[in-house]
Amino acid sequence: MSSPTPQYGPMFDTDELVINMGPQHPSTHGVLRVVLRLDGEKVVDADVVIGYLHRGVEKLSESRSWAQIVLLTDRLDYVSAATSNVGYCETVEKLMAIEVPRRAKYLRVILSELQRIASHLLWLGTHAMDTGAMTVFLYAFRERELILDLFEEYCGARLTYNSMRIGGLPQDLPPSWDRKVLEFCRIMEGKLEEYETLLTGNRIWLERTKGVGVIDGAEALALGLSGPPLRGSGVRRDVRKDEPYAAYDEMEFDVPLGVAGDTFDRYVVRMQEFRQSIRIIRQAMQGIPEGPILGKVPRLIKPPAGEVYHAIESPKGELGFFIVSDGKSMSPYRFRVRPPSFCNLQALPRLVKGHLIADVVALIGSLDVVLGEVDR
């Protein structure tokens, strides 16, 4: 309307409603707090408040030995501990110029991709649950359980694996583990169809996700999105392809891309990544060479003085480690994590603006943040 906004008398109060979503809220995935300013149900502005799970991992690492930090990285993205392990170990290996045996590299790929499937399953379950489709949640957890079993058999833990060592891996595969992994891949392919039957063609699901939280590629890059949220906007950026680590340069896989950059495309990208991960696991299982699993690592890990940054593609996005060693003490001088969840979460206020409360929930789900990693 061209006329100025109507001025209500003192009798009426039509202020915007400021509402606290979290830190205790069923769908903020932990302890995320979003302060929403609402006009009716429409979000006018959002302020993301984080830090409720801040444990000072970066500070703590400055007084832990290099090997001990592996298990701190478990607790960053606690639903995807193996990839965090890989990221940290590779960073230290880069700093110390340790050559990792090829078998270890292959195993890292297999474990990372299993972990990616597990993490994406958790995302799928919670994302669907947030939009009200609760059966998918239990289906996804059913399959995630299989992966946790595989990890348990490999390293004895189900969540915080501590499954990597600087220079390689702590142990070789247990007997007949490879068969079980392939069997899992077979099961998983069938189950993917099941999820897609419940969601991909579902009209309500389409209405809830299409056109929600649209962000174009350029803006997504500028806002620092990485991982599936960035690829959902059509930007071909995958650390596994751009800066190959472990044995990814020997794997053949596609990088699924979205077009519209909305919640649905982010969903589709992750659903495709399931299939790509299975493809990578199969290749790696087939091509896995014999040999040692631990490289030549000095008894006392004491990297030379210097700074190093190394990034890997975690299920959430680009997981980077920036480590400074002073070359003298037994622990890093500075240990910095570039958490993908943190940087992805940054885009939330931009994404939710103008959408409804229900979309806020869907968008938090579609960014797939883990607060352990956001707050560190």
Partner: protein, 170 residues
Amino acid sequence: MAEAIAFYVLAACILGFAVLVVTAKNPVHSVVFLVLDFLCVAALYVTLGAEFVAAIQVLVYAGGIVVLYLFVVMLVNVKRPPEAFRAGGRHAMLGLALAGAVLVEAAAIAVWSRLSPAAPASAAQSLPVSGNTEQVGWLLYTSYLVPFEVASMLLLVAMVGAIVLARKES
């Protein structure tokens, strides 16, 4: 006898709730009393043998319109300053005058019907259908067709007007 008792109890409730509607300090409480008032009115209709009107009363007034009142009251969060509760003022005088007018009108109708009784009561008997609902329907679509259509037209106009007012130019 039973009917008379029911009538006086219901009438007392209606009047009591009506007073509460206007005296309640919280607008939401007012609306709640209004609902109770309407329910009592519906019960009164039932004692008169007009089940259809009673059901419609509950459905349209208690179940529909007052929900919208409540909606509005909650949405705009009406804040009445303390001085609004003070007695006196022009509004109070105006209200008193209106109430007086309504009272006089009601009394006039009562007196008038006493003087010339039984004229409208026979209309129901002459209808070709029996049953409460059918009679209402018959009357609406025969004798009162024009007023009925005019009323519905009026409502339509009001609705369109409301939509036009509420629409935001994009």
